[in-house]
Amino acid sequence: MTGRPRRFNLLQRLLHWLMAVCIIAMFFIGAGMVSTITPKYLPLILAHKTLGAALLVLVLIRLALRLYYGAPPLPADLPNTMKLGAKLSHYALYGLMIVMPLLGLGMLWAAAYPVVLYGGIRIPALLPQSDDVHTLLWNAHFYLGFAFFALVLLHVAAGLFHALIRRDGVFETISPLPPRENATPAE
């Protein structure tokens, strides 16, 4: 196991928790903005677009770090099905983190809406207006949003399962807190 880190490095952990807060906020902002006609609608949609664009940049940095630094190994005694589940769910999480902002941007472009973020930052359109493309991307963004939320909840449950029930050190690899004394006997 030499050569594989025992924890994600500080930058990876920082990005994980920063993005976690933003992504969870995005679910609530998204669900809130499409169900209101009050003046809140405008700041919510502006925040959703701005955070979404920021998350797209962050996930690309995060993916690069992940490919460069790798991930700590899972405990050897973890059942194979759980290992497989962990692996697949992380692929899905990365996929959704990349795809969701692109779908969001694409559906705005395909509806001929100018994409203007907080501070007046404008993202030029890379797609022409198209009814079919708009509908396709809108549906994908909408339904994958629910799938993403469900997957994040599963991820939270799994993290807590490792932290509270299995206590196998998996949570500590990403924990924002410094490792506990008994988790670092070798040092």
Partner: protein, 351 residues
């Protein structure tokens, strides 16, 4: 021998904690999405209230469903610069895309049966920044709040003969609009109508000063009053035929864009209240309509004239309508683009 039991208890406690966190998250999400608040006024409910008696005509806008496209230019005279740093006010000519329309959810309504006429406009001035707006010809909006507008839609569709009377008693501001609807002359042309923003917006000038404003498009064409009964004899689409013919034979049609600047005491949050006469007005430019095209495959079809698409130098005020309109227009756009095959871009000849 206590250890396993303690361990079991703490495992149970952890499971309960995990379940509580997940359950709480789902409940918070459901609350945010409005699933636990059936009384919340959502874009869907507003769209539903706009459904005409015959059902939704698929592929069309959910309100102001009947319209015709135009293109042209906005000629800014530079007088708007002290009010707003928006590019559209700097002296120059900027491309414009728009849509004349009728205030009805029925795209097949006969023109003479619809009291409210409107215009959707998109001015492309600043590089990449658009200014979109949708204006109508009455000088005031019927009601003070988006909630009241929903109530008005329900009351006017109600089978209860007293529904409108009850509504008017609860929302007395509607009297000014009703007076206009009853007494203002009808005209036989989109070109003879004024169009008003009604909603208040905030202009920001180059030194950061804010100005609460409304604006109007005042027609260069002299309005000729025509009795509604006479208009009814002109065929169901006379407005579209007239504007096409007028632009073809008489050439460009013009409107002066006039900005009205509020005093500090004027109501900006309530489009049913006109501002007092004598407020400072600034003619900032001229809308020139040069070419008319059918909506079916015209350039305005793909555009949502969302009045919150604003360039730097213009932003919404405390008027709650632009946000409400934006959310509902967006819903309408999502619905109609998904139904686009029901409104083909090439006319299908009827057998």
């Amino acid at each position: 021998m206590n250890q396993p039991r303690n361990l079991r208890r703490s495992r149970l406690g952890s499971l309960v904690l995990i379940a509580a966190i997940l359950g709480g998250s789902v409940a918070a999400f459901a609350y945010t999405a409005g699933w636990l608040s059936p009384q919340r006024l959502t874009p869907e409910k507003m769209v539903e209230a706009l459904t005409p008696p015959g059902g939704v005509p698929p592929g069309h806008r959910r309100n102001h469903a009947k319209g015709i496209c135009f293109t042209g230019v906005f000629e800014a005279n530079g007088n708007g610069v002290p009010l707003s740093r928006a590019g559209a006010f700097a002296q120059g000519r900027y491309p414009v895309l728009g849509r004349f329309n009728l205030g009805t959810p029925n795209p097949d309504a006969a023109d003479a049966t619809v009291r409210v006429r409107g215009i959707g406009l998109l001015i492309q001035a600043d590089e990449g920044h658009e200014w979109r707006m949708a204006m109508i010809n009455p000088p005031v909006f019927p009601v003070s709040t988006p909630q009241a507008f929903h109530g008005l839609l329900l009351a006017s569709a109600s089978k209860d003969p007293n529904a409108m009377k009850t509504f008017a008693e609860a929302n007395p501001e509607i009297a000014a609009f009703a007076e206009w609807a009853k007494t203002a002359p009808w005209t036989a042309s989109y070109a003879e109508e004024p169009y008003h923003s009604l909603n208040s917006f905030i202009f920001t000038d180059g030194s950061g000063g804010d100005h609460a404003v409304r604006w109007s498009l005042l027609p260069a064409a002299q309005p000729v009053p025509v009795a509604q009964a006479d208009l009814e004899k002109r065929g169901p689409d006379f407005l579209e035929q007239e504007i096409r013919e007028r632009v073809r034979t008489a050439g460009e049609q013009r409107w002066t864009m006039e900005v009205t600047v509020a005093d500090s005491t004027d109501p900006t949050a309530d489009p049913s209240k006109a501002w007092p006469q004598g407020r400072r007005t600034v003619p900032v430019g001229t809308l020139v309509v040069q070419r008319i095209e059918p909506e079916r495959d015209g350039p305005c079809r793909d555009i949502n004239f969302d009045p919150t698409v604003l360039p730097p130098g213009i932003r919404v005020s405390d008027d709650p309508f632009p946000a409400a309109r934006s959310s509902v227009y967006r819903k309408s756009y999502d619905l109609r683009t998904a139904e686009a095959k029901d409104y083909p871009r090439t006319e299908v000849t009827k057998p």
